[in-house]
Structures are given as C-alpha cells and as structure tokens.
Amino acid sequence: MIVVENLEQTYMSGGRPLTVLRDVSFSLEERGFLAVVGPSGSGKTTLLGLLAGLDRPAGGTVWLDGANLNRLSEDARALIRAEKVGFVFQTFQLIPTLTALENVLVPVELHPLAHEARAAEAHARDLLGRVGLGDRLHHYPAQLSGGEQQRVALARAFANRPKILFADEPTGNLDAETGRAVIDLLVELNEAEQATLVLVTHDQELAGRAHRVLRLSGGRIASDSAAR
C-alpha cells in the first residue's frame, strides 16, 4: 500500500532551511496498522503529510497504492485523496459552517465516481449512528463537545470507504477517557472497513495497540518493530 524510499524534507524556518526528515525508507502492506511515534519535533506529522500527498518531499519517493506521488500534480494528488484516503486530525478540523451530517458527506461528494445521493446520505447517517451521534445530525460543530466533534471526524474519515486512513494525534485534544473511547471507535471502524491505518501519536499506550511501531528521532527512523 505504501512504499517510501530515502524520503527527505526541508522547511524554511526563520529564513534558514531546517531538515525535518532525512533518509526515511519503509513499506507498509495493505490492512496494516502502523503507529509513528517520537518526541515533539521528530518529524512525525511531516512524514504523515508526505505519505498523504499533502506536500512534495525535498528528496526521495512516496508510492501510495501504486501511484508515485512525486510525479503527480497538486490536483491529481487531491483526486487520489478523495478516492482512497481518510483523515482524522488532532484539532478535528470540521468545517464550522456545515452540520455534522454535511461534514460527513463532504468526502463522498468529492469522490471522483458518482454516488447516488440517497445512498450516500444513508451511509453518512449510518456512520454517525455507529459513532453514537445519530440524534445530532443537524448540529453544528460549535454545538458539539470535543469528543463529539472527533467522532464526527471519524465518521467523515470513513465516509468514502478509504483504502488508507491517516490519523494525526487523534486524541491529542481530548481527555484520557474520551480519547480512549475515540480510539476504540477508530480501531473498530477500521477493522470493519479493512483499511490501512497510519496513526501518529506520542501516546505509548495508544502506539501499543498498533501492529507495528515506527519510532522517529531527529528526523530519522530510530527503530521499526512490532508493538507486541
């Protein structure tokens, strides 16, 4: 599903180039569950962004489901994301002007293949029901608690039946109990949808639930092993 070769990334910071990733290489099979861990500033989120095609690397290659992301234009990568990728963000990133149902529908509406409107909406309602928000379909994000917002974000992430799901610190803004509940849901939904899951976290307990852990340090892979 994912193949990474000699990945390198540099950003400008205070007018000077800062190399945040260097010499990163690994691959991940379909339906794998990978946790990327490391201290703050180790390059986890940067790696996630590159894997999802949100940015171009300074060096190296990323292959996502057989497509070389380096060779694709911005819009072509967007189309791949619409078709194959789901996202869960640390800050939920719901569109504030849309209701919960409308937020979940967005990835479906962006999918390159035409979906029948009624079927798409039924699927979205079903997903929201499964995350326990079946009675909050028409509420706006500001009317929901943090945990509820993240659950809407989960439903949205699975709405277009993605092949791969990227989650960037999904419990980072939640208390421990809510965070656990969200992760349980995430894992449950992922097992049902059979997607590949890449999870960025600094939470060791959460990382322990993954099949494989990639530890980053100073922009490099410090270790790569199974969690159990």
């Binding site: 962004g49 409308e102 509406e109 962006l110 960037d168």
Partner: protein, 849 residues
C-alpha cells in the same frame, strides 16, 4: 453527484451560514446599482416625454428670434407664410420694473408680450384654470406666483408696467419648454401684444428679444422653410429654430445633466465594489482553514475557487436585485427632486433595459473587485490543515493576479467612459477616481502609521486599547477610512466649491460698495434720476453713458469680407457680429488696469476724424486686433473711425459697469445713448422707497437691488448643489454600509476580547470606552483624510475649473470632520451595543455565523 453539484451545494451551505455578512456587503453594491438604474430609467423617461411633447416645447414649428425688431425682409417672409395658410404669432420679451400700486413694492421682471394664438402647440396652464385664452381680451396679465409673493399681491390686484396698468388675472402653473428655475432668475409677466405700446417701455437702448412663431399647415415644412432661408435669416441677424432643434438641444442638455448625475451614481457603485472587494478579502481570510480542509479531503483547486467565486457572484446578484428595487423607487422620486431643471412633465415608467443593465453591471463590479482577493484561495496548501505555520504559495509572476488587476482597471475605465457625456470626460473621471482613491489610501496609511508611531503610551488603558484595536489582525481600518473618507471627500469638495462660488459672488451689503443699479435711463431723465438718488444716497451718483454700436470694418476690411474669409485665422464670428455697448470717459476706473499702450491723457491725439479707444484684452484676442489697429463703428447708422491706443484688463467680477471698449471723451456725446448708474442706499426700507419713486416717475427705468441678485444666485447654486448632494448621498450610504460591515466582520474577535476582558475584571463602561475610543479614532482618521482630500479637490476645482482664488472656509472643514466622526462613532456604538451586554459564558459556545 456532479462537479457543479458539489460546488453549488457547498456555496449554498457556506452562504447560509454567513447570510448577515453577505447581506451587508450586498447592500454596498445595491446603492450604486440603485443610483445607476434610477438615472438611466429617468433619462429614458425624459427622452420619451421630450419626443411626445416636442412641438409643445417651442409652441410652434419654427421660432425666429432677433435682438432687434424683425426687418421688412423677414416681414415679407412671414406674410408669405400667412398667405400659404400658416399661422404667425409675435412674442416680445424684455426686462422691466413691475410696480404694485397697492403695496408700493417693485421688482425686476421678464415681460412677454404675446399675440393671440400663441402657443400653437401645448398649453400654458394657469391658476385659476383657463385664464390664458382670455389674456388678449383686455389689459390683463398672468404672472409667476413668486412675483405675487414678492410684491404682496393677489389675483385681481393691479400691476403697473411702465405707463400702463394691468389686472392680475391668474398665475402661471406650467409653461411648456421652460424650466422652473427661470422663476428664480426673473419672474415672468405675460401680457397681450396689443397693450405693449401703452406701457411705453420699449425705447431707445432697451434690450429686448423679438420673436415670430410659425405653425405650418404641414409641420414637416418647417425644416425646409428654415434651410431655404438660412442665408437670409443670417444676414438679418435672425436665428431660426425648429421644434426638432429645440427637442434635440433639450435632449442633449438633459443627457449631459443625467450623465453627470450618473457619474455620481457610478462613484457610489465603484465605492460599493471597493467595499465588496474588501469584504471578500476578509471573508476569504476567514475561510482559509476551511479551504485547507477541503483540499486535504480531496477537493481540487478549481472546485474550491468555484465555491467562493459563486458566493461572490451571489453577493453581487443579491445586491443588484435590491439595488433595482431601490432604484425604481428613486426613479419615481427624481421628477420632484429635479423639478427646477425639467422643461416638461415626466411620468416614471418601468424600463426593462435599464434594470437588466443595472443587474449585469452590479454583478460584474462585484466580481471584478472580488476576483483579486478570491485568488488567494488558490494559494492555500492542504498542509495547512495539519500544520498552521505553513507559508502560502507565492508565485512570482501570477498571471491570474495580473489578469484580475487588468480586469479591474478595464472595468473602472469602461464604466466611466460608458456613463460619461463624452469619452474624454469618462477617462478624466476614471483617472480622478483612481487618483482620489490612491491619495485617500496613502493618507489613510500615513495617518494610521502616525497613530502607531506616536502611540499615546502614557494615556489610560481604555485609550491605549481603543487605538491599538485599529491595528488588530484582519482589521478593517483602511477600507473603512477609504469608504467613509470618500464620502466626506465628495460632499466636502462640493461644499467647499459652493462656499467659494458664493463668496466670490457675494456683494457686500455693508461698507461703501454700491448695492443698487439703475439702467435704461434716457438722456432727458438723467438729471432727475441723479437728483432722486442723490437725495437717498447722500451723494450724487455718476451717470455712465452707454452707446450701442456695431463693427463695420477692421483695418478697412468689412465684417462681411472677414466672415467670408475661410482661409486662415480670422476674428470670431460672435465678436464681429454682436452689438457692443460703449462708454466714454477720461479716466480708468477701479476695475480696470492698463496692459498695453497709453491712456489718452498721456498720449498725443490722432487725426480729428479718428477717435482713440481702449479695448479689453480678451475681446481684442477674439477680434485679433492689437495696438494701432483701426476699427470702424456703425453707431446708429453713423460711421465712426477709431484706433486702438490702449489695451485694458477688466475685473468682470466687480459690481460696476464694465465695458469691452471705452472711447475718449468728445466723440460719442452726440450719439443716441442711455445711462446706467450705481448707488448705495444703506437702509432697506429707504431702498424700497427709492425704487418705488423711480418707477412712478420714470416707468421705463429699471432698478436692480443687488441683494436680489445675491438671493437668486444662492438659490440657483443651492438647487444645483442639492441635486448633486442627493446623488452623493448614495456614496455616503456606501460608506455607512462598509462601517456596518466592518463591525460585523470583527464581531467574533470583539466578542472574544470582551469575554477575556470581563473575565479578568473589566466593567461594562470600560468596554464601552474602548469601543468609543476606537471608533472615535477611526472617525477622525476617516473624516480627516476625506477633509484633507476635499480641500485639495476644492482648491483644484475653484482654481482651474472656475479660475478663481481659493479661500479655505475653516468652519466648513471642521464641521465636515465633526459630522463624519460623529456618524462613525454613533454607528460603531450602536452596532456593538449587544456585544457589551453579553455575559462571558454565553460566548463560549457561540453558534457559528
């Protein structure tokens, strides 16, 4: 689900949430569209009315006009018209004094002596109705209502004109083809031609207009009639006008007026565009996180751009539709507003073309101004959904941004040229608008920077916070200053020009300057008039002789020879053919200055048959004559040779008898002439008595009280100014909309700040104080910038357009700044009153807008 389906759905959802904001900025476009729709529709209404009533405008098919009684050649032509079945009516017009025996009041009026049958087309309406047809039946008169008011008379009272008395039979309510403003200049008095001689008013030297109006059997004969006799009429110094000429002239005049007003409407529209552009800029900035999310979830650049472009277009459409509704309402009000300038009744009709054009222009302007800020949407990286601090993509040569700027420039230019009377004026207008906007923006930036630089650090917290709020992120400071400042600039410039014009025209009523002019004094009346005035004024006034004359030849070339000369430069036609009014004296007067040559007291005399003259420099240029040139004059049939020995410059603005040509004494004394004199009578009651005595003893003599001239000019300028200000109000409206918009835009930020401040202990009066300081500073910056620009604009207009010395009325400028600031502060505090009352907890789970 199609691509456009998603775009439309997202646009609708986003717009639903920001309805209040979109509504507010759509309002900015609506005012400009309203102005344009109103003016364009009204213009069509007037054109239709002119076409319908064209013959009524003249009252005839052809009008022949001359400053002298129509000669025998023209008389023979009129006889032949009658013989062929046409109808002819004579109208003689002149100014004279009207005297009310009942009240003793007098007034300078315009007398019109008309033949029965006039007007042949259209009707002169009177109050009571139907009195026009009985005018020839006796010594009756129909007058403007303003005259009755001035003289303190009523219908049925007596009015004296010269040596004849008339009964006031009614007042004029409508005279087709004449604008209402005429009544302000000189009230009209109609009498039947048969009674003109009885007045004994038309004597030597009287200025009168003699007209013959013709109605043909077949109106289409009019054009041929005039064309075939053009040369004859020209030789007889008779101007000939057909009804279609008059209609065309009026249409062109009105077209120019309405296009001028349309330019004001266009100013409002462009301001509205500016407001919309600024709104879209802030709107897009707030939406950037959403754009990043959508890009992350798989939306292409084009899709995302289309979502927001659609919202901008919807804003423009909503505003344009609202503007159309408002514009139709204004269209119905314009006939009343412009009543003084309209020569006929105008009925407002729905004009689909004007409405369609208004909508199209409104949407186009909203998009043209919104495109540039909208392009920022393209620069959002999807990475911004993950990492906040990502620098947006900056393209070095962004061809889309260049194209958007070019579109904006073309839009402003195109609209200006299409709405202006002539393309050059449109171009000048576009440049002026651009320059004013740039100057205002620079002034706003400079003043804002100065406020930052000279920040009042030692002032209380409330003051410091209020001023600091001007520089908060995503502030609307510069757009508000631009919009409010532009309104202040527009109204301020109008006001300053008006004040300067009135100041220039103001005749001092205190002090030694004359306030009273008497003219049309016959030679045998001169001594009597002088004695009468000497009694009232304390000193005998100087009697200035006036001798009418025409040019017969210049340097031995006759006028006809010079007019026939089509090769090379020649003297201007009007200067060659006009009737001059000369005087003779032995000194220069205070309003003159010698520019070239020598006055006769310093120069040697010429040959006995050649008189020395001093000519005014501008008319010398028109006649292409210089020192030493010889002009032969026709003075009532007698040829008098003269040589230019001096050239003078004349201050025409001074209230004194000024002349193009002054003769040396000893030449014209024997020629037929009249006298004019100026006097100063300090007491208003005594002045009225003098006028009454003059008219009683010398009924043909006219007297003009300077204060009436002053009044008339003030009223004229006031009418013009009011009309312009009415249209300028649309620009002010835009400024207010932008202000409300700025309040709405920063609402959440203010809410958060207010919550924070209240949480840490700020009281409501302090929150209010911070708001007041912020809007006070904003108002001062906006009004100050606008006032500064108004002073510059006023100076430019007065100096270059009117060629006068500019005087700065400080009080006006201060009032401008005060009013602008007060409005800004009031709106700011009113718009934010809810914010001050909200408890902190209520804000924590605020519904998204």
């Amino acid at each position: 689900m199609t691509d456009w389906g998603f775009v439309l759905r997202m646009a609708r959802r986003e717009a639903r949430a920001g309805r209040r904001q979109i509504g507010l900025y759509a309002g900015a476009i609506s005012l400009g569209v309203a102005a344009l729709v109103a003016i364009t529709s009204f213009r069509a209404d007037v054109t239709a009315a002119l076409e319908q009533e064209s013959r009524g405008l003249l009252g005839a098919d052809v009008e022949l006009r001359s400053r002298a009684p129509l000669d025998t050649t023209v008389g023979a032509i009129l006889d032949s018209v009658r013989a062929e079945g046409g109808r002819v009516a004579h109208v003689t017009s002149f100014t004279s004094m009207a005297y009310a025996p009942l009240t003793g009041a007098t007034r300078l009026v315009e007398v019109r002596a008309v033949d029965p049958g006039f007007p042949f087309y259209g009707a002169i309406e009177t109050v009571p109705a139907g009195r026009w047809s009985s005018l020839p039946d006796g010594p009756r008169t129909l007058v403007d209502l303003a005259l009755l008011t001035y003289l303190g008379l009523e219908v049925g009272d007596s009015l004296r004109l010269g040596e004849a008395a008339f009964v006031i039979d009614g007042t004029l309510s409508r005279v087709p083809g004449e604008i209402g403003l005429r009544a302000a200049i000189g009230p009209r008095v109609y009498i039947a031609s048969d009674y003109l001689d009885a007045t004994n008013l038309l004597r030597f030297g009287s200025l009168a207009q003699y007209a013959a109006l013709i109605a043909f059997d077949r109106p289409e004969q009019a054009a041929t009639f005039v064309e075939q006799r053009r040369r004859t009429f020209s030789d007889a110094r008779v101007s000939a006008e057909t009804a279609s000429h008059r209609e065309r002239e009026l249409r062109e005049w009105f077209d120019a007026l309405s296009r001028f007003l349309a330019l004001l409407g266009l100013t409002a529209l462009l301001l509205g565009g500016l407001a919309t552009g600024s709104a879209i800029h802030v709107f897009v900035k707030r939406k950037l996180p959403t754009v990043a999310i959508l890009r992350c979830l798989g939306a292409t650049q084009r899709r995302v751009f289309a979502i927001y472009l659609l919202q901008a277009a919807a804003m423009g459409l909503a505003g344009s539709m609202a503007g159309v509704v408002l514009g139709i309402a204004v269209q119905h009000a314009l006939p009343a507003v412009l009543a003084d300038f309209l020569p006929l009744d105008v009925a407002a009709t729905l004009r689909p073309m004007a409405i369609a054009a208004g909508i199209a222009i409104g949407v186009w302007v909203a998009l043209a101004f919104g495109l540039l800020p909208l392009l920022d949407v393209r620069n959002v990286s999807p990475l911004q959904a993950l990492r906040r601090a990502v620098e947006p993509v900056r393209r070095r040569w962004d061809r889309w941004a260049l194209a958007a700027k070019a579109l904006l420039a073309v839009t402003v230019l195109g609209l200006s040229i299409s709405q202006a009377p002539v393309p050059a004026a449109g171009l000048a207008f576009a440049v002026a608008i651009g320059t004013a906007t740039l100057a205002l923006w620079l002034t706003a930036r400079a003043l804002t920077a100065a406020a930052r630089r000279f920040f009042p650090r030692r002032t209380p917290y409330v003051v410091r916070q209020g001023i600091a709020n001007l520089f908060r992120p995503q502030n609307q400071t510069v757009p508000v200053i631009l919009a409010v400042g532009f309104g202040v600039f527009l109204l301020g410039t109008l006001r300053l020009v008006q004040d300067n014009l009135l100041g220039w025209l103001a005749f001092e009523t205190d002090g030694p300057r004359p306030n009273f002019v008497v003219f049309d004094i016959q030679p045998e009346q001169a001594d009597g008039v002088r004695d009468l005035l000497a009694d009232a004024a304390g000193t005998p006034p100087e009697m200035v002789p006036i001798v009418p004359a025409r040019i017969a030849a210049i340097n031995d070339r006759s006028v006809d020879q010079m007019l026939a000369d089509t090769l090379g430069p020649r003297p201007s036609r009007w200067a060659l053919r006009r009737e001059y009014r000369h005087t003779y004296r032995d000194t220069l007067v205070a309003s003159e200055r010698l520019v070239e040559g020598q006055w006769w007291s310093d120069a040697a005399p010429l040959a006995p048959t050649v008189a020395r003259i001093a000519i005014e420099q501008d008319v010398a240029d028109e006649l292409r004559v210089r020192l030493g040139d010889r002009i032969t004059w026709d003075v009532q049939g007698v040829r008098i040779a003269s040589e230019i020995v001096a050239v003078r410059s004349v201050d025409w603005a001074r209230f004194e008898p000024n002349f193009f040509v002054v003769f040396e004494p000893g030449v014209l004394e024997a020629a037929p002439h009249t006298f004019v004199t100026l006097a100063r009578v300090g007491d208003a009651r005594r002045l009225a008595e003098v006028q009454r005595d003059l008219v009683r003893r010398y009924s043909n003599v006219s007297a003009l009280d300077v204060s009436i001239v002053q009044d008339t000019l003030e009223r004229l300028l006031g009418s013009v100014s009011l009309t312009i200000q009415f249209m300028a109000l649309f620009s002010i409206g835009c400024g207010i909309v932008v202000l409300f918009g700025a309040i709405a835009t920063s609402r959440f930020q203010r809410l958060r700040e207010s919550v924070l401040l209240k949480t840490i202990g700020a009281r409501t009066p302090q929150i209010r104080g911070i708001l007041a300081v912020e809007y006070l500073a904003l108002g001062l910056l906006a009004s100050g910038s606008g006032a500064l620009l108004a002073v510059a604009g006023g100076w430019g207009a007065v100096t270059f357009l009117f060629e006068l010395d500019f005087h700065l009325p400080l009080l006006t400028v201060v009032a401008l700044v005060l009013v602008g600031t007060t409005v800004t502060v009031t709106i700011g505090l009113l718009g934010n009153r809810a914010l001050v009352r909200r408890p902190p907890l209520a804000v924590l789970r605020e519904v998204a807008e």
